[in-house]
Amino acid sequence: MSSTSPRIFLPDLRELEKSLPVPIPDRVRILSELEFDLEELWGRLLAQGLEEEEAKARALEALAPDPGTIRQLGWLHAPIYRRVTLNMRDDRLRIVERSALAAATGGILLLQTLTLLRADLLRNPSPFLFPVLGLGALLVACVLAKVFELWIKGDHRNARGGLGLILGLSGIVLGVAFGGTLVDLVRLAGILERAPEMAGRVIPLWMVRESTLLSVAILLALFGGLVWFVLTQWLTLVASARQEVLGLGRDSGN
């Protein structure tokens, strides 16, 4: 963009960006569209013989949105969720959102447990399976909260916040499972040392327990890692589009 254009409206676009109450991707599209039109009109006014500053002022007067127009744009580009909950008080909305998240987390935990029960994998579980399931439910809750915040609520004020927690929880789930398997292995070795004749009965049981623990943990960690990767890539794309339209450096925040 900058190679062929003087980009004289960048300060005005940066100022406008601060007041545009819309999600970042929409903001970038609005500003890109506006910049092209402003530059075209400015060029046309220059060709008509106006001074640069006067042409700029006239172009801004014609095309730059005033507060009323900004409000209209904000409403038009607001996510459906925002439009639906417009009349709800902030504190009440927060309670509803948190309750829904808690219910979703509980539901996921229940679903995980039911699935394991149905597959008869909870008859003699590793004690480490329960913290893995709990952490997994927390991980899924974090993912739901982040996806809801970014893509349903369209709130990008702290876009990268919580992504580290998702990746960290995925790692912790794996760590607990592998650590648990190791502890269970030491215990198994202790049993076999005391009573080697039990090997035929204890080893197959141990294998079922540990494979359940490890497969649940690996699935949860893969899910968390994949979500972290997709969200990070999406946010990087959005941030670079914003940096391009506002002519900002790589280190500028959202």
Binding site: T4, I30, E33, F36, E40, A62, L63, A64, P65, L73
Partner: protein, 117 residues
């Protein structure tokens, strides 16, 4: 318009939307060109100021009456709008409605018993 009430603000908004749709009837254009053409074709009677054009364009796009598409012009991104088939139908239907409203308004302003010209 209904027989029981008439929304003047809504009518003004509809007029602006129709001006945009009408300007796009012949060819696809970008925002600033639409504003210039509306002003030129109406001999300065209708003008868009303070960016009021953009909410109209974005609303029409959301209602799928126009279609926005991005292209590159000398390295710069620009958004071009074109009329959709449903936009064309909407323009035709709304033009008839506006014609009827204006004709009834003229009739009213001229007073009872005087025919419209």
């Amino acid at each position: 318009m209904t027989e029981t009430g008439f929304d003047v603000q809504g009518f003004a908004r509809d007029i602006h939307e129709l001006l945009v749709l009408s300007t796009l009837r012949e060819e696809a254009k970008h925002g600033y060109q639409i504003a210039l053409d509306v002003e030129a074709d109406s001999n300065g009677l209708f003008q868009f100021r303070h960016g009021t054009l953009y909410p109209i364009l974005h609303r029409l796009e959301e209602e799928r009456l126009i279609k926005g598409s991005w292209s590159r012009d000398g390295g710069r991104k620009k958004k071009i709008y074109s009329l959709t088939p449903s936009g064309l139908r909407h323009l035709s239907g709304e033009t008839n409605r506006v014609e009827e409203i204006v004709s009834r308004l003229i009739q009213f302003l001229r007073g009872p018993g005087k025919a419209t010209t």
